[in-house]
């Protein structure tokens, strides 16, 4: 569609095209400049700022504060990082599970159309609605004890049904169980779309050769959909510090030893309540974010390098 303007008419067409291109790109580029470049530059600057007695000081105090906090055993951030990494490991473990769920749906297991619809429910309805049921399942109010709470009471031989989401002994485990429950179906849209593009002839000839389901999944499907596997792995690793269960809703904003890093970060902004001018809390948040981003960058490049070496370039 590119033409070199030669005549006045062609110049007019080129000018019109330039206006067209600008009109289509203006808002997205402005959006990028304001909400990505500017916001991240400001966040970078805030990481080095600290207001002391109304005076703005530039330095590494926020970072020093972080390392001081990091050395404390009862630190909320340390707990948050620990729980976030635990959550990440769990979501990574759920990766093959969700792949297999989509695989069996693709293989049209009996009731697959029904399952395909019902498995979308957790991603269709609000987190507050799902949390309402889960909280009640773990509830220990006398006379209205939840089945999970009663089960744990029986299993451990306790005198009373425990408050599974309000007791530090159980809260974290039941937040993780909640994640397993909700992430079981996995990314049905992406896997469904990807599997539907697998050439039928390949599957048919495998069937004729008497290939079983495990070999078909591991040795035929995985290599074919490897670009998606690799991409999803890269995207999982880059969001390693974004992994966190629904602790805001389940455990009263991350209480009872369930704090996660993304929830902690969210709470820093949530608790500001409009007091943003010279907020040291937000500056501190930016400093921590900067360090986490640096670590994520290294992880992202390493994972991408490994997946590329394993089976070709990661494509999008």
């Amino acid at each position: 569609m590119r033409t070199a303007p030669r005549t006045a008419e062609q110049k007019k067409i080129a000018a019109k095209r330039a206006i067209f291109i600008c009109s289509f790109l203006l808002m997205p580029v402005l959006n990028f400049i304001i909400f990505y470049v500017y916001v991240n530059l400001e966040s970078f600057a805030m990481a080095f700022q600290r207001t002391v007695n109304g005076e703005l000081k530039i330095g590494f105090e926020n970072f020093a504060l972080f390392f001081k906090e990091f050395s404390k055993a009862d630190s909320d951030i340390v707990l948050g990082i620990k729980n976030t990494l635990l959550t990440f490991c769990l979501t990574l473990a759920m990766f093959p599970v969700s792949f297999l769920v989509s695989f069996f749906l693709y293989k049209k297991i009996w009731g697959s159309n029904f399952f395909r619809f019902v498995f979308f429910i957790p991603s269709l309805i609000q987190g507050t609605v799902i949390a309402a049921l889960y909280v009640m399942l773990c509830n220990n109010t006398q006379g209205a004890e939840g089945p999970l709470s009663l089960f744990v009471q029986k299993l451990l031989g306790l005198d009373q049904a425990p408050a599974l989401l309000g007791d530090p002994r159980f809260a974290n485990a039941f937040v993780l169980i909640n994640i397993v429950w909700l992430t079981f179906p996995g990314d049905l849209i992406i896997w469904g779309g990807t599997f539907s593009r697998i050439p039928e002839s390949v599957i048919e000839s495998a069937k004729l050769d008497g290939v079983g389901w495990l070999r078909e999944a591991a040795q035929i499907i995985v290599p074919i959909v490897w670009p998606t596997v690799a991409l999803k792995l890269v995207l999982s690793f880059v969001s390693i510090f974004g992994a966190g269960g629904n602790v805001f809703l389940l455990t009263n904003k991350g209480s009872y030893g369930t704090q996660t890093l993304p929830n902690w970060m969210y709470l820093q902004v949530y608790n500001q309540g409009g007091y943003v001018k010279n907020s040291n809390v937000l500056n501190y948040l930016s400093a921590i974010g900067l360090m986490i981003t640096a670590v994520t960058l290294v992880i992202s490049l390493t994972v991408r390098y490994i997946t590329n070496r394993m089976n070709g370039e990661v494509t999008f």
Partner: protein, 302 residues
């Protein structure tokens, strides 16, 4: 055996036929596992739906049983009794929250998808200085998430006067995000021949886009729009930060649940939970196929 049950039996037999004994065992176990998870997901809706038909005390003390008395009127009362107060000047009832939800989720998602598709189109189909940079830039944004910028973003919204503002919807411009990659791939797969033929016939660039190219990606646009709409409809976390005084249903219900117990309106809360779950489920039921067949990422090896 009726024709219907006969059909189901045939389907069942077909799904399990031509399988070895080992495979039959695996498929049966998987089926049972799927059935268990499916039951639990459906039970969420049953639980909130049924508790929405009880009285407050019944919902609190007997959450697992059927209602002692069936209060169908609760589903009407939601519109009157579900109210959130955020300061004296800010009282939001269910209907207002519903309007807010529709306003932010419909307009926001539409603007975002529209601008994203437009950006993907020009960067994919037109060569101009710097046109090559947008695709790798989007990949970079996606693969290097920047943490901790929430404070800076809040400060920016605050300075722009966009906290608790309906104008915030105008900031929902899309651009260089995951959806950009989907649109880019879709436009890349389209031939430019029909566009060029239209241009020879005198069609301008806008006509080519809106009349020829955009209709060819309308299914993808629809699928991504629905996904964005559902995400916006259910989003409570950013509403609590940026729009706490003009909450949508997702944010408003979260705020209401904190006071539902003390104001003896737990049954209203359950009814509201059920009502807000219906629109995304209905939408998904209608467009299930479009959603699951139009979106893929990463490709397959040829």
């Amino acid at each position: 055996m009726s024709a219907r049950t006969g059909g189901i039996a045939k389907k069942f037999k077909g799904a399990f036929s031509r399988k070895s004994a080992g495979e039959l065992v695996v498929y049966s176990l998987v089926f049972l596992l799927f059935a268990f998870f499916a039951f639990t997901y459906l039970y969420i809706l049953f639980f909130v739906g049924v508790n929405g038909l009880k009285s407050h005390n019944d919902a609190i003390m007997r959450p697992w049983g059927l209602p002692k008395n069936w209060h169908f009127e609760n589903y009407i009362s939601v519109f009157r009794d579900l109210t959130v107060y955020r300061g004296t000047a800010y009282e939001t009832d269910f209907l207002k929250m519903l309007c807010n939800s529709l306003y932010f989720s419909l307009i926001g998602s539409f603007l975002s998808m529209m601008f994203t598709s437009m950006a993907a189109y020009v960067t994919c189909k037109y060569k101009f200085p710097g046109s090559w940079i947008f695709y790798p830039l989007t990949l970079l944004i996606m693969t290097v998430p920047i943490y901790g910028s929430g404070g800076a973003l809040y400060k920016l919204y605050y300075r722009m006067g966009m906290i608790n503002s309906y104008g915030q919807v105008l900031l929902s411009w899309g651009g260089f995000n995951a959806q950009f990659l989907y649109f880019f791939a879709a436009f890349q797969s389209l031939s430019s021949a029909s566009a060029e033929a239209a241009q020879i016939d005198g069609a301008g660039d806008y006509t080519v886009y809106f009349r020829i190219m955009f209709p060819q990606v309308i299914n993808l646009f629809g699928a991504l729009f629905i996904m964005a709409w559902i995400a916006d409809w259910n989003n409570y976390s950013s509403i609590l930060i940026y729009l706490p005084k003009i909450p949508t249903l997702a944010g408003g219900i979260y705020l209401f649940q904190a006071e539902a117990m003390s104001t003896v309106r737990q049954h209203i809360l359950y009814a509201a939970y059920f009502l807000v779950s219906v629109p995304p489920l209905l939408l998904f039921a209608f467009f299930n196929k479009a959603l699951t067949s139009n979106v893929s990422l990463g490709g397959v090896k040829e």
